[in-house]
Every structure is written in structure tokens, then in C-alpha cells.
Amino acid sequence: MAGTLSFAPDDRCNAFITTCDAAPYGDGKLSGVAVAVKDNISTCGIQTTCGSRILAGYVPPYDAHVVSLLRGEGAAIVGKTNMDEFGMGTTTETSGYGPTLNPVDQTRVPGGSSGGSAAAVAAGLVPMALGTDTGGSIRCPAAFCGIVGLKPTYGRVSRYGLVAYANSLEQIGPMARSVGEVSRLMEVISSYDSRDSTSFDRPYTHQPSADIESLRIGLPQEYFGEGVDPRVAETVRSAIGRLEDLGAETVPCAIPSMAYALAAYYVICTSEASSNLARFDGVRYGPPAPTQKQWHEAFQEVRGEHFGKEVRRRIMLGTFALSAGYYGKYYGKAQVARRNVRQDFERVLGEVDVIAGPTMPTVAFRLGEKSDPLSMYLSDILTVPANLAGVPAISVPCGTVDGLPVGLQLIGRHFAEEQIIDAAYAYEQEGSA
């Protein structure tokens, strides 16, 4: 039955940038279900800002592929969620629309960059939401807010309409309070789209099953070592112990390329971003450039005024990494490093079915805690390898430390979302009981 959903959330965590008080919906698998969409995913007729002032007031004339799919299955798009500006952050504090608070503890960040989507789900404002994950941006806030988030295999969900931050790394993915809901949303958004040349025709249609008998789980030493809060590591270890109780087998393994994976990730994402974000010039959309000024002056002014500090920093890093004389040292090397990461994962995943570890090295930070950019970057160390390798990864809540949620990360083979979803489902159904 088609209709209109009225939506007036008590958004005390600032999860939304835009809400639709009367959201139309139709028939289908998600008929009438309120779905929140991260604000870097284009929605025809609904403002899409990417959490940036440079896109304030921009209303796309077209829907992202995933949004068309949601509408096609009857979902009600009830709002656009807050995020780190263009996805550049791990806390949702770099948003141009104010930070989002963690519904579990409002003195804490929700994680990022899909912090708004995670908070909207965790606060019960919506049952499910779309996030995007470039280097952990779905899994980190899912872990920090105590919900489930899936980063699909690169190419399994169309990126058409996703405002690019780092094209070769990012994927749109589902976020919800349960593995079953994540699976249901994944089924809707994974339909093939020829408009994305990097997408594969590998639709996901799967009913989660808790049967993980003889599942082989690899435990990379790097995921439990230096930089990981021992209490977080312990919580995750005991969750994996529960999976063993359910019939899984664990195997120690190593991913040596982790030594430089994070550096490679930041070189690649800033390089791509420096190119992607140059189009925001105030000519075709966004706050207008002063046309009486000279082009470069006007362009610099628009970007200086409407881009936040982290965005400007990453654009400059990427510009530097691609510039004459440095390309080989940074971008070229990062591509080799990326290939090594990919090969490490292929090797390990040849021996085991899934890789398990913590999603984040710590629990949610206090607001303002990560003021130094490098220390914030370092917190992405456990999530970026899956993006570099292009493999799917899911974060599922697995306990708390100091009352704050901890996420168990399960990483699978290319196009083996089904397997990590089953493992997460088994833990959720049986393990956490």
C-alpha cells in the first residue's frame, strides 16, 4: 500500500541534516519502512550536502541508484543524515552542520563518517539507514553506537549518485540494529547498475543462517597488537570464543602489509579527493562564486570559505602526493602497497573463511578528544585494510567496555557477504545470549 509517512523525530543527537516530514512510500519489500540516507548519496528533490557548507542548498536533479532501488521497493526516505564533511573524519565532528552525538553517551562521538546514520538507528529514529564506507565509515560508527554495519565488496553496490570522496575505495552499505535488517537492506541495494563501470552483477539474495559449523576464522596478530585497547581486544576475543563454542575453528594468521596499509590508504584517498573536490567552484551549484572577481581568486575564495579545515588539509595532502616529483614516492608506492594488502588478504582468505578482529582499536572518543589529525587517522588502522583489498566486512556489537559498545569485525572473501553475515548472525542470535 502506497502512502505518506509523517516523520518528526526527536533528533537530540543531531543525526539529521535534512528531514522529510511527509515521506512518500510505495509497495515492495520495504513498503513504508523509514530509511535514513547518508547525506553524500544523491536524492532527487532533497538537499544533498555531504556535510559541507559548499553544497548548502544543492538539490540534485537525479536519484542515486541505491535511492531508486529503495523507492522501487517502497521505502520512505525520511531524511539525510549528518556526516563528516565529504566523509573525511572518524567522528562526525568535521561536519559543517555541527557534530552528531553518540546516543549511547552524549559526551561521546558516534564515530564517523556515517555518524548520523548510526546515531539515527541507535537512537531508534529509523530502523535502518544507508551509510558509506571509504576506510571504515560504516563499521566505525556502527561499532561506536552499538549497531550492525556492513561494508560490501567493492563493486557489489552501485556508486552512481554517491558523491565521490575516494572512488576506488568507497562503497555504500546498510546499517541497522540487527544482522537480519542489514541483510534485508543489502538485498535491496545490491542490484546491478550499468552506470557504474566498476560494479559487478552479483546481486545479494540471502537469508541469514546461524549455522557456522566448521567455519574457519583467521585471527591476524596485527588486529590484537600495539595500539589496540587491551580491554577492547579482550572483549572481541571472548566474542570469538563464543563463535568457537558454536562450531567455528580459529587459526592465527598475519597480514604483514598492515605495517604500511594506513599510509597507503591516506595517500590514495587524499589523492583521489583532491581531484574529486575541485569541482565545487560555486558555478553550477553551491554557494555562488562572486562573478565580478577573477576566476582563480573567486575559486580560491569559495573553497577557502566553505570547505572546513580537514577537507582543505586532505585536498592539500592529495595535491602534494600527486604533484610532479612526488607521484612515485607517494601515489605510485601506495598502489603497490595496496596490491600487497590485497594479496595478503587473498592468501589468508585462501586458508580461512573469514578474518575476525576488533572493528576499532578503542571505544568511542570523547567529543573533541581527537584534535590532532594524525592521531585521528591512526584510529582507522583496523578498518582500512578491507577497503584497500576490496573485500566485504561487517561490524556487529559484541559487548561493552566502560558501558560503551565494542564492535566485532568480520572480514570475508570477495562477494562472500553471505558468509560474514551468517557468522555475524550466529553471534547475534546465539553468542551474545
Partner: protein, 89 residues
């Protein structure tokens, strides 16, 4: 290590306005990050093309375009169907 002068020239290459009082902070943070990037020095080998997929095409068949009003709808200023832009001097 990059100097403040180099930071300003990178900002210029990137066409990004940096406030005077931001330069020192940017330089310090930039250098900390670049030092971290040195981890890549341990990587050896050449960048190669290892595509999983090649030759993804579209057929040469015309499809719909946006109406002119949609093209211009988000532009700050327009004139006679054109988008108005600052002039390159």
C-alpha cells in the same frame, strides 16, 4: 619535511585559500603526516595494471538529457540559458 613556503605553494597549486595564521599549524601537521607516510618507503616494486575487469562499455545510443531549467536550477547566476562564471584573466 616541507616548509611554510612550500605549504603556501601547495595551497596555491590546489587553489585553496589558507589564512595567514593557519600556515604554521598546517605545516606542522603536514609534516607529521608525511613522516607517517614514510612507512611506504619499505614497499618495493612498480605500479602495475592488474585489472579484474577490462572493456566496460556503453552502446552509442542517445538517451535523455536534463531540461535546461534543471541544468540551471542549482547555479548561482545564469543569463540567457548560460551559466554565469567568474572570468579567467
Amino acid at each position: 619535511m616541507v616548509s611554510e613556503i612550500e605549504i603556501e605553494s601547495i595551497a596555491k597549486l590546489a587553489d585553496i585559500d589558507l589564512a595567514r595564521d593557519e600556515v604554521a599549524g598546517f605545516t606542522r601537521e603536514f609534516n607529521a603526516i608525511l613522516e607517517y607516510f614514510d612507512a611506504l618507503d619499505q614497499v618495493s616494486g612498480e605500479e602495475t595494471l592488474t585489472p579484474e575487469l577490462t572493456n566496460v562499455f556503453r552502446e552509442d545510443e542517445p538517451g535523455g538529457c536534463l531540461p535546461q531549467e534543471d541544468v540551471l536550477a542549482n547555479a548561482g547566476s545564469t543569463e540567457d540559458g548560460f551559466v554565469k562564471a567568474p572570468r579567467v584573466m
